[in-house]
Subunit: 219 residues, 2 copies
DNA sequence: GCAATGACTGGATACAATCCCAGGCTGTAT
DNA sequence: ATACAGCCTGGGATTGTATCCAGTCATTGC
């Protein structure tokens, strides 16, 4: 999707990550400029804009130190090429699935969870970071990792990862003939009704487990 | 150590932790004031000084958002590097703790979960199989594994493993002087009130994560 | 009774920080 | 040749933020 970072942009990004790991808060433009030898904070500003355009950071307008790392990872010395092929890296963690792109595309994988795939049954293929509280009564909260087994073969009552018109969602599956209902486990959310003859529904996989607390602790 | 936090100071501390977990950077005085309903940022400033004196935060003078959590409660301080200390066996899974026996006694350990202890922060020492639905609104269901960090040092609002008169339970912790309330996250369960001067309460550890689905799949 | 402390309001000030504008210099693609 | 993007200097307006000062009110220990 977005072009890779230039060498200079990577340097700026690395400095942001290092600062957050060391101090617990992001740097200012002036601090970036000082660290990298710029004489003007505007040089840092422009780099930040570029990093924001490319999606590796997010800028919060008007806010001091308003820099966020969407992946939430502040590991040391992360170069964007740290995504080696799985082997024993564990399960890939997938977050923020953009509309229209395959769920396991490399740019969505922000880190790995060092856990064997076959701890779950059926085995997990990846972990999906869940957003929102639509499944809270099923014990799946915002930010949780849902262990997903890739399959199209799902049954009534199971928790599935579905894609409706390029939108990825986690819901409970219910089918009557050619009509599918995706039920949220939260009274605040209405069920999603899909007529398979008119609308397109793709089943990405089956929820086989939940992991909470990797890095952030419990609330 | 220093004196415990007052209720108000605890509220401010909680807000700082929550903000850092959610946004990746600490709040300003004004943001604290707005969130807690102060009309003056000075109220927040004085609370921050008190928290700094008591050692639970550290203020960096002259720096916007210059608040640090020395202990490392933020997601920023994760070094998800797999320390190969006991990464072989994984975390022991503890279930059905009998009354009167230590929680990590060998006869309770029925199996191991092949997951590195330091995937969670602070690190998990064991996994406790939770029975009942008393914490269902916190997303902890019957049969879930609660990752537990062994410590006595717990704060208001945290999910703890406690032992009252030989009974092990998972609840949210709340303290007022010598009076402790263990709050269930389920309206069907009444809070447990403990007067530390008459009853015995032992904190076994702090809940740092949840794992669901090992072996059985999701319901 | 009195000092000390916690928890604020309200106002003020000086610096920190974001963000805009106007350039310049280097490549690389058209 | 020309256009364009990346990378940087320098300056400046505007807002964000930390920090101080002067009080009020209530509680607690002495």
């Amino acid at each position: 999707m977005s072009r890779p970072l230039t060498a200079r942009q990577q340097t700026v990004y690395d400095f942001i990550v290092k600062t957050m790991a060391e101090f617990g808060y992001p740097p200012t433009r002036a601090e970036i400029a000082r660290a990298l030898g710029f004489r003007s904070p505007n040089a840092a500003e422009e780099h930040l804009r570029a990093l924001d355009r490319k999606g590796v950071i997010r800028m919060i307008p008007g806010t001091s130190r308003g820099i966020r790392l969407p992946a939430g990872e502040t590991e040391s010395e992360v170069t964007a090429e740290t995504r080696s092929e799985d082997a024993d890296a564990g399960l890939p963690i997938v977050g923020n699935v953009a509309a229209g792109s395959p769920i396991l595309a490399a740019e969505h994988i922000d880190r790995y969870c060092p856990m064997p795939a076959d701890y779950f049954t059926p085995k997990a293929d990846y972990l999906l970071r869940v957003r929102g509280l639509s499944m809270k009564d099923a014990g799946i909260l915002d930010g949780d990792l849902l262990a997903v087994h890739r399959t199209q073969d799902v049954r009534d009552g199971q928790i599935v990862v579905a894609r409706i018109e390029d939108d990825v969602t986690v819901k409970r599956f219910q089918r009557h003939g050619s009509h599918v209902t995706l039920v949220a486990e939260n009274p605040d959310f209405a069920p999603i009704e899909i007529d398979l003859e008119n609308e397109h529904l793709e089943i990405e996989g089956l929820g086989v487990g939940v992991i909470r607390g990797g890095g952030s602790g419990l609330q």
